[in-house]
Symmetry: C2
Subunit: 382 residues, 2 copies
C-alpha cells in the first residue's frame, strides 16, 4: 500500500516510537500521579519528559502549561468551551475543521455567542484587513487553523497574533496540520492557546492531543474528576495540568509521542519539512500538466502543508479513490474532510474532492506512480 | 517490583495485548472512519471488533451503543453532563470517586441540580430502603459505582436497577473496579448507562474508557467536532457512536483492549476472579492475625473486589508505603484514592490509608512477602 493519507494520521511511525511503546507496556504499567511507588514515579517522569520536549518545540517556558487529551478535537473543545461565555464574540475562518466550527455553533445555540466566519479567497488566503474590521467590543477570541486541511494554505500567525495582542483578544491556534512540521513559537506569535495532535506530523500514536494554555488563563474544565491531588476539594485544582487532566492519561501514547518528538528533533524539523514540500511541489507541477485535473489551494511554488485536494473532470472523486485503492493500492481520501465551509470556498460543497496528503516517508517514485495511475484512470474513464 | 496497585491500573498486561499493539502500529497507522481506503477500513474493522467483544461481555445487543473515550472519567462526564438538566435531582453514594462527585458538584454550582449522597455503613453497604426513600419527583438519575475503590464492597446492582426501572429513573453504573472482573448484564440489571475503564480488569492499555448508552437515550455530547460523517451539518449526528466520538480515536489502544477482552474470555472471567478473590481473602485472613492492622470494608469471607485498604497503629501510612516501595520493592498506594467521602465513612479523612490491590497475576508468595514485610516494619517502628 502506498500511503497518501498523512493529513488524517501519519504512517509509518519511526521504529523508536513503536519500540518505546512496546517496552513501556511490558516493563511498566503503573498509573502516573496515582501513587508514589517507583513504577508510578517512572511513568510520571516519562510523561514530564514528553511535556518538556513539546514545550521546547513550541517555545513554551513552563511545560506544565501543556495538558493532554485524547485528540486535538478534545483540546479545542476545552479551549473554546472553557473560555467563551454568554454573549462573547469570536472570529474564525471559513477554513476551520468541524472541531472548531461545531463547538462554536453549539455555544451559539446554548450561550448565544456570536460568530464571524472570515471569508477566504479561493486559494485559502484570509484578509488581515477584514479580520481587523471584524473586531467588535465583545470579541474575546480569534481561532484560526495554522493550515487548512483541505487547501493546505498557511495562515500568517505572526500577523494575526499581533492584531489579537494589540486588541487584547485571546488567540487560539489549531495546529492539526503543522505541529511538528512548521516552527511554532507561542511567545513570538502571541498565541494564548495552542491545540495540536500527537499522531500527525509529531509522529506519535493515535490517542493523544495536547493543549497549551498560557499560564495566566484559567479555563472552565471540560472534564471534572480525580486529579490525584487535592482529592478532598469538590472542585478541580487550580494548577495546570492537574486542573485539565482528570482521570487516567494515555500514558503509553504520551510516551510514544515523546519518542516521536525526539525523532523529529534528531533529524531536524526543517529537513523533514523540506523533503515533504519538495515532493508536494513536484506533485503540483505534475498535476498541472494534466488538463483534466483541477487542484485547489496555493499555486505551484508557494509553500503549503503537504496536501493537495483536487478534482478530475467528469469523473466522480469517490470512484477515482476506489480505483486508486483497489487497483493501484494507493490510499487517498475523498469526501468533505470535516471542513464543509472550506468546500464552499472551492465550490466542491456538493461533490467533495480527493485529497492526497504526504509525509516525509513518501518517495518521488510513489508520487510518480500516483501520477501515472491518475493518467491511466483518466484515459480509461475520461 | 511486586505490583499491588491493580486498582489504579493492571500490570503486567497479557503478551497478546502488547503484541497486537506493536504489530498494528507497525502495519497500519490509518485513521478509522476518516477514509475509505483499505487501511482505514481495516482500522475501523478492528475497532468494531473490540466494540463487539465488549458488547458480548456486558450483554449489550447493539455494539454501536458503546462509545470510546480517553478514560472512565470522560465517560462519566459524558453521561452525567449529557443527561442532567437544570433542577434535576440525582442520587449517588458517599463511596463515589471524584469522577462522579466532581461533575455532580459542578452541575450543582452551574445548573442547580440537587444531589443526595446516600450514607454508607462502615463496611461499604448502602441501604436500599434509604435509597427508595431518597427518590423525589425530580429524581432523574441514580449513579452508583459497582464496587468502591477504597472499601472494595460490591453494590447490589440488580436490586438498585430494579428500583430505578420501577420509578423510571436512569441508572448509571461506574464499573471502574468490576468491568472484566464481575458479570455485568445491562439488560437484566436495568443499567441505562455503563462507564468502564479499558486498562484495569479488562487488561487493555491506558488511554481508553467506554460508555454504554442505551439506544433510546440521546445525550448532549460532551465534545463537538468532526465525526467523519454528516460533515456538512453544524450539529453532531444523532446516531451512536458517531454522536459521541469526535476526533481521532485511540485506535491502537482500543485494538489492544480488544486483545485484553479476548484474553479474559479465553481464560474465563470466573477463573480469573476466583484466583483474585482467593488471594484477597487469604490476605485478609493474614492481616486479621496482626493486632496492629485495621483493615476496612467487608469482613473476611465476604466477597469484595481484590483490594484491601488498611491502617497500621501508630505508623503513618505514607511512611509504610515508602518503606514498602524502597526497602521491599512492593508497590502499594496511599492517600485518598480520589474518594474523599469514602474516607469519611471509615474515618480516615485526615490520615488517608494504604491500599493493596491485587490482580490475577499476583501469587500467594507475593502476598506472604507483603505480610512478612508489614510484620517487620511494625516490629521495627511500632
Amino acid at each position: 500500500m502506498i500511503y497518501f493519507d498523512h493529513a488524517a494520521s501519519s504512517w509509518p511511525k519511526p521504529d523508536a516510537v513503536i519500540e518505546k511503546i512496546a517496552s513501556f507496556l511490558k516493563e511498566n504499567g503503573a498509573n502516573p500521579g496515582r501513587g508514589n511507588h517507583v513504577m508510578a514515579r517512572e511513568a510520571a517522569n516519562e510523561i514530564s519528559k514528553t511535556r518538556q520536549l513539546l514545550a521546547e518545540l513550541f517555545h513554551i517556558s513552563n511545560p506544565n502549561a501543556i495538558s493532554f487529551y485524547m485528540n486535538t478535537t478534545q483540546a479545542l473543545n476545552q479551549a473554546i468551551k472553557g473560555l467563551l461565555k454568554k454573549g462573547d464574540h469570536v472570529i474564525t475562518s471559513q477554513l476551520e475543521h468541524n472541531s472548531v466550527r461545531r463547538p462554536l455553533e453549539y455555544l451559539k445555540r446554548t450561550e448565544e455567542i456570536e460568530i464571524t466566519y472570515l471569508e477566504s479567497s479561493i486559494d485559502g488566503t484570509t484578509s488581515l484587513d477584514i479580520l481587523k474590521k471584524s473586531i467588535k467590543k465583545n470579541t474575546k477570541l480569534i481561532v484560526i487553523s495554522h493550515a487548512s486541511n483541505v487547501l493546505g494554505t498557511l495562515q500568517p500567525l505572526y500577523e494575526i497574533g499581533k492584531i489579537a495582542a494589540e486588541k487584547n483578544i485571546f488567540f487560539l491556534v489549531d495546529a492539526a496540520q503543522t505541529a511538528g512540521r512548521y516552527p511554532i513559537d507561542v511567545t513570538e506569535m502571541n498565541i494564548n492557546l495552542l491545540a495540536f495532535p500527537g499522531h500527525k506530523a509529531l509522529l506519535g500514536p493515535q490517542g493523544v492531543g495536547g493543549l497549551y494554555i498560557q499560564p495566566n488563563i484559567l479555563l472552565d474544565p471540560l472534564v471534572h474528576g480525580g486529579t490525584g491531588s487535592h482529592s478532598e476539594d469538590i472542585d478541580q485544582p487550580l494548577s495546570s495540568p492537574n486542573r485539565y487532566e482528570s482521570g487516567t492519561l494515555n500514558t503509553v501514547g504520551i510516551i510514544g509521542l515523546g519518542a516521536g518528538v525526539e525523532y523529529i528533533k534528531k533529524i531536524g524539523i526543517d529537513v523533514l519539512r523540506k523533503k515533504e514540500w519538495e515532493l508536494t511541489n513536484y506533485l503540483l507541477s505534475e498535476m498541472k500538466k494534466i488538463d483534466q485535473i483541477t487542484y485547489f489551494g496555493p499555486n505551484e511554488n508557494i509553500e503549503r502543508v503537504p496536501l493537495v485536494t483536487f478534482l478530475v473532470d467528469d469523473i466522480d472523486s469517490v470512484e477515482i479513490a476506489a480505483i486508486l485503492d483497489q487497483h493501484y493500492q494507493i490510499a487517498v481520501r475523498t469526501g468533505f474532510h470535516c471542513s464543509p465551509l472550506a468546500h464552499q470556498v472551492i465550490k466542491t460543497e456538493h461533490t467533495g474532492a480527493i485529497r492526497v496528503s504526504l509525509g516525509h516517508t513518501n518517495t518521488i517514485e510513489e508520487v510518480n506512480y500516483l501520477i501515472t495511475s491518475l493518467k491511466e484512470i483518466i484515459k480509461h474513464m475520461g
